[in-house]
Symmetry: C2
């Protein structure tokens, strides 16, 4: 693994874990000292994290860890829903080959098996997260647009905007099972809409699907213990927008 990738992964983790707090200032040399690599990979990593939105440049030099207001999170979720909705609509409008539809169906069947038992174990939940990510990735693929896929990928670099957003928090909800079931219903529904060429329906479903994460966001906001477990939770700043 290159030093650049190492620096990137470690720095990102320091940020998402809260070890580097929102507003904290980072200069190249301070990161060099912290990570013990030379300036060149540090520069590349800093530039990348700026592009991802985790860092913002300070006019007087260096970068600050970005703080995210609750409204920012909501907007990020809405953005993802809008883009995944676009992907779903394109897929419905353009049609999707049967093998790809079947592949998605198989993934959904796997999800059913994971959440269909009685109580959902930690292992089940973990499996669900993995499968959920795959479902979303497939959905973006079947739209058949590299332009759209690339853009969605960029949105999802923020932890709050990924399909797994706040799922750690969800696992702690009393109604965790019910929400998974609802989400899975939406997975099934959007597949059906795509197959039936119902573009507007597909789009609306995916938008609503992304909004499910708002419940988890609310939960995380009301409980410090939960917030601590949420990836990137340390970046959330209570109050109005940044």
């Amino acid at each position: 693994m290159s030093q650049t990738v190492t620096a990137l992964l470690r720095l990102r983790e320091l940020i998402l874990s809260g070890a580097l707090a929102p507003g904290e200032r980072l200069s190249e040399l301070s990161v060099v000292d912290q990570l013990g690599v030379s300036r060149t990979p540090v520069r590349a990593a800093l530039a990348r994290l700026e592009e991802e939105g985790l860092l913002e440049p300070i006019p007087s030099g260096g970068f600050a860890v970005r703080a995210f207001a609750v409204d920012d999170i909501r907007d990020a979720l809405e953005l993802r829903g809008t883009l995944e909705g676009l992907a779903a609509r394109l897929a419905a409008e353009r049609g999707v080959a049967l093998p790809a539809l079947n592949e998605m169906r198989r993934l959904l069947d796997s999800i059913d098996r994971v959440i269909g038992g009685g109580q959902i174990s930690a292992a089940d939940f973990s499996a669900y997260i993995g499968l959920n990510e795959q479902v979303h990735a497939r959905l973006i693929d079947v739209a058949g647009s590299t332009v759209v896929a690339r853009q969605i990928g960029r949105v999802m670099t923020l932890p709050f905007a990924s399909p797994s957003a706040f799922l750690e928090a969800q696992g702690m909800l009393p109604e965790a099972r019910a929400i998974l079931t609802l989400a899975q219903e939406q997975h099934r529904a959007v597949l059906e809409a795509i197959e039936n060429r119902e573009g507007a329906r597909a789009e609306a479903i995916m938008r609503e699907h992304a909004r499910l994460a708002r419940r988890n966001l609310q939960l995380a906001l009301g409980d410090q213990e939960v917030l601590r477990r949420v990836r990137g939770g340390a970046l959330i700043r209570h109050g109005l927008r940044a």
Copy 2:
């Protein structure tokens, strides 16, 4: 101006002008030779252009100038419409302060003055382009979401996805005047929709607005002379998607 910015601007221009053709391979050292700057700014520029989507990395080393299929262009326009539509909807849902609305109204009045005369001169057209960009920028601002604004900014780094996309080609259409008038109607309509808190209407208008560029795209595709004048026209590859 730093060498990095110089390299970035020059390289981008070489690409958009067609001097560097789609598919052409660029290595760091070849660009160093071509631009006469050292590797460090070249690396930064190459990374940036990759992020913007103009270059794609080659597994064996170096970058290739990306070719855009016609479908990619259409998808990029649809993407911009979707995001600007989101911005318009958010603005309508959340409300916009009167001074900001008035600022937009003033810009639209300026556009009316520019296109309201008889024949549209080159200077008029040029002024329209500048004002059009400002209208769009204001529209994104009034949504009041930095998350969404940032994302739209990223989409618009591609020349085909900017509000000015293919406007050079439009200027050559016999019905250029009519299209400007229609676009301006849509500007007025979306402002009204925002003011009236009509989110769905605002969103639909901006989507349709972005699709206007398709006419210009068709024109450019059918006429090499026109295509040559379009910024980034050299990147367009006829045929199906890349």
